[in-house]
Symmetry: C2
C-alpha cells in the first residue's frame, strides 16, 4: 500500500515538475520573441525598412497572446498544485516577468510605429547614432535578464540593474542633444520628436529589463529587492551568496 | 469532537477572511494615496507650487513601501492559506493591481519633477489647459477603477477601459497642438517639452487605470480580458451579468 502511495506521489510530483518546466520554457520562448522584436524594431528604424516595421507591429499580437496563455497556466498551477516555497516563488515571479516582457513588446511596437512615421515624413537629420547605441545596450540587458532567469543567476540579474543606471545617463545626454538640434533647426522638430519617442521607449525597455532582473532575484534569493536601491540590492545578493558558500 | 473541529475550522476561516479583508483595505489605502499624488502633482504644475511638487516627490517612497508590504502579504497568504477559486483570484489580482498603482505613483512623481523644472525655467507659453483637462479625466479614471475594486463592480471597471479610448484621442490632439506651438516659437521648445512629458505621463496614468479595471474584471468575472479589445471585453462582462440575472 505504502509503495502504491509512494508511486502515486512520485507521479504527481513528476507531473508537477513537468508543468513548471514547461512554464519556464514558454517564458523563455516569449522572451526570445520579445528580444527579437526589440532588435527588429531598431533595424527597421535605422535601415528605414517599412516592411520589417509592419512585421513588428503585427507580431505584437503574438506576444500578447503568449502573456495571456502563460498567465492562465500560472493561475491554474496556483489553484490546483498550491505550490509552496521556491515553487511558489517561481510561479508568482513568472506571472510578473511576463507582464514586463509584454510591455517591452509594446515599446518595440511603438518604435516600429515611429520608424514608419519617419519613413513617411522623411528621415530625421540626427539621432540615429544615439538610438543604435542605446538600443544595442538595452537589447543586451533584455538578453541578460532572460539569461539570468534561465540560469537562476542573481548575480547576473543584479548586473542588469546596474546597467540600467548607465542607460539612464546615456538617455539623458541623448535627450539634451536632441533638444539642441530642434532649437537649431525648428523645421526638423516633428521628425526629431519621433527620435525622442524612440529614445524614451528604449529607456523604458531598460527599466523593464531591470524589473525582470529584480523578479529573478526574488525568485532565486527569496528577497524582494524592488525599490531598495542598487547598494542594498547588491548587499542582499552578496549576503545570500556568502551563506551558500559557507553552507557548502 | 466534531463540534471542536467545526469551531477550529471556523476559526481558521474567520482569520483567513480577516486577512483578505485587511489586504483589500490596504490596497484601497494605497490607491487613495496614489490618487492624491496625481491630484497634487497636477495642482503643483498648474499653480507652479514648488513646495507641493517636492512633497509629491518625497511621498513616492511611501507608495513604493506600500507596494512591497502588500506584495509580501499576498505571497504569505498564497504560501500559508493556499486559497482557491475567487479567493485566489482576489489575492493574485491585488498583487497585480498594486504594480499598476505604483506605476501611477511614478508618473505623478515625474509630473512633479516637470513642474519643478518649469518653475526653474519659467512657465511654458501654452499647454496648461490641456494638462488640466486630461489630468482631470485620468484622475477620475483612477478613482473609478478603485471604486470598481471596492464594489466588485465589473461594469464600472469596463467604463474605465472605455474612458481610456477617449483620453487617447484627447492626448493625440493635445500633442499635435504642442508640436505646432514649438514650431511657431522655437525659443519655447525646452519649456513646451516639459508639458509634452506631462501629457505623456497623464496618458500613461490612464493606461494603468485601465489595467486596474481589467484586473478587477478578472477578479470579479474570472475572465482574463487583457488584450482582447473593448467589444469582446464588454461582451464578457455582459454575458456574466445575464447569467447572474438568469440565476436569480
Amino acid at each position: 500500500m505504502n509503495k502504491e502511495i509512494d508511486s502515486f506521489t512520485q507521479h504527481i510530483s513528476q507531473q508537477f515538475n513537468e508543468e513548471l518546466e514547461s512554464l519556464r520554457t514558454r517564458l523563455l520562448e516569449m522572451g526570445g520573441l520579445v528580444e527579437k522584436q526589440v532588435h527588429d524594431a531598431l533595424t527597421a528604424l535605422i535601415e528605414a525598412d517599412g516592411k520589417l516595421a509592419e512585421h513588428v507591429r503585427e507580431n505584437d499580437r503574438v506576444i500578447n497572446d503568449m502573456e495571456r496563455l502563460i498567465d492562465a497556466d500560472c493561475m491554474r498551477i496556483l489553484a490546483r498544485r498550491q505550490p509552496a516555497a521556491s515553487d511558489l516563488r517561481l510561479v508568482v515571479n513568472i506571472s510578473k516577468i511576463i507582464v514586463d516582457l509584454e510591455r517591452i513588446g509594446d515599446e518595440a511596437s511603438k518604435i516600429a510605429r515611429r520608424a514608419l512615421q519617419l519613413i513617411e515624413e522623411g528621415q530625421a537629420p540626427r539621432g540615429y547614432v544615439e538610438c543604435r547605441h542605446i538600443g544595442y545596450h538595452v537589447h543586451k540587458m533584455v538578453q541578460q535578464s532572460l539569461d539570468s532567469f534561465a540560469r537562476y543567476d542573481s548575480q547576473q540579474a543584479l548586473e542588469v540593474a546596474r546597467e540600467d543606471k548607465v542607460v539612464d545617463r546615456e538617455y539623458k545626454t541623448a535627450m539634451r542633444e536632441m533638444v539642441t538640434y530642434m532649437m537649431e533647426d525648428p523645421r526638423s522638430i516633428s521628425r526629431v520628436l519621433n527620435i525622442l519617442w524612440v529614445l524614451r521607449s528604449l529607456e523604458r525597455v531598460g527599466d523593464h529589463a531591470r524589473n525582470v532582473g529584480e523578479h529573478v532575484i526574488h525568485m532565486v534569493e527569496g528577497t524582494n529587492v524592488r525599490h531598495i536601491g542598487l547598494t542594498r540590492m547588491a548587499e542582499e545578493v552578496e549576503k545570500n551568496l556568502q551563506e551558500q558558500n559557507a553552507g557548502e
